[in-house]
Symmetry: C2
Amino acid sequence: MTVQLGLIKKDPSTVALQTTCAICSGFEMNVCQSTLQAEWAISGTKPIPIQQSTHIAPARRIICRDGDLHDAVPVICDGWAASIATLSDSSRQILSILLPGDIVSTALLFDSRGQYLVEAITDVRYRIFRRSELKPALFKRPDLLENLSKAWIEEKSRADQLIVDLGRRTADERIARLILNLVERLAKRGMARGEPIEMDFPLRQRHIADATGLTSVHVSKVLSEFRRGGLIKLRERSLTILDLGGFRRVANMR
Amino acid sequence: MTVQLGLIKKDPSTVALQTTCAICSGFEMNVCQSTLQAEWAISGTKPIPIQQSTHIAPARRIICRDGDLHDAVPVICDGWAASIATLSDSSRQILSILLPGDIVSTALLFDSRGQYLVEAITDVRYRIFRRSELKPALFKRPDLLENLSKAWIEEKSRADQLIVDLGRRTADERIARLILNLVERLAKRGMARGEPIEMDFPLRQRHIADATGLTSVHVSKVLSEFRRGGLIKLRERSLTILDLGGFRRVANMR
DNA sequence: CGCTTCATTGATCAATCTCAACTCGCGTGG
DNA sequence: CCACGCGAGTTGAGATTGATCAATGAAGCG
């Protein structure tokens, strides 16, 4: 599907699209079809025609690996995914958990050197843009570039944070911080509500282990510990932070 | 000191400047005064006047911390430095070891949110550019932007690599990989020569520990192990890789 | 409904940390 | 010139964290 000047047919899922694309434009590149359309209506600026395609992947499916990224820049519209580095002994390290509105990696806008793969955690809807079109558009539009730089700083800052966590923190801290970071990111997207805070939490303990550099056995023990301490409730893919103060203390202390 | 149209007075250290700036322009932003001058001569393109100042810091001195970065983008001209995150218990994690030609962080070109400090490892000569001038220049010059994107991809890829190392590798592997990464980066700069490969290596074991998420006590033991195994020679701030194949094997295995 | 993946728990093991003592080289101030 | 203190490095003993192995039950999925 190619988008020209924002002229798009409505389809039955319009409402859902608008919801998630509203999230998306707040966080990322403003290049999505719906966004461009809206922008055109508001500002009168002529949107740049960017070829894009929408895809759906079921949970646990690989969305893309090295070879797939020659000209593709994927953006998560809906669902959770993870970018994962795999080692020769088949152990895995999650580099980043991708939430709706996240571009898989800002570096992909410029080059395709990715030593990792992207895997769906839940069912995922995502779009693929073509770098060969997106990149020139960026260079022409300082406002898009400004958005990009924000996404990039955010991405790098999270990577640095992860380095510190993996290098210098205990299992308890790593897990608590992973969860709190996700809570924060979800809250920004309106995906965490209530008092006490509550949200969908589709991560398996395997994912938590892969993200924190631990084994899933140990993750299970630590989570049980958290539950016993009345800090969180976590079951049936749903998470409640029962004692935010206490949990924060576990996450930051040392 | 402000550079206007590449008109600069020669000074006694011109030769040294040219040497390191040749390295620098190969790796980073091409905004340095010497580079701009040379570029002007070659291409006839009018260099952009960028205000910049040269500084010197002795080993172990902090080059900048959070607050210093409001409008400053430092680039290492000469010597080794490290960007370091410090935790509340005063333990430290090195995010990146900075070699001549490295910009401290490409994210600094867009924003000053840095939760870390930059510390000189050896005596360091560095330049500070002003973001308020550099950033607009970037947006006007696609070629500079292209250079920037390369530096950024490189930076992010190294960060991702470090995440995997800290999350999934043993002490031996982490240390060997740190050293091999440095060897590679130094070689690109012409700072590692010979057969077997030999180079200046000013890192203290403390730095290695801070970079690999280990304690310096354990680093000492692992290095002794490497020495006993005839893999490396490391003394008096000088490193020789005696058995490159064997050392690579230690670094990559699992 | 049968199979795979996920989660829990206990026992044991291994990697790394912590603590401590000692050496060495270096720079500083008396 | 010497004494001193400090940071860096080495080494050993013992403590701790988290990994590995194994067994079991529950949950998700075709």
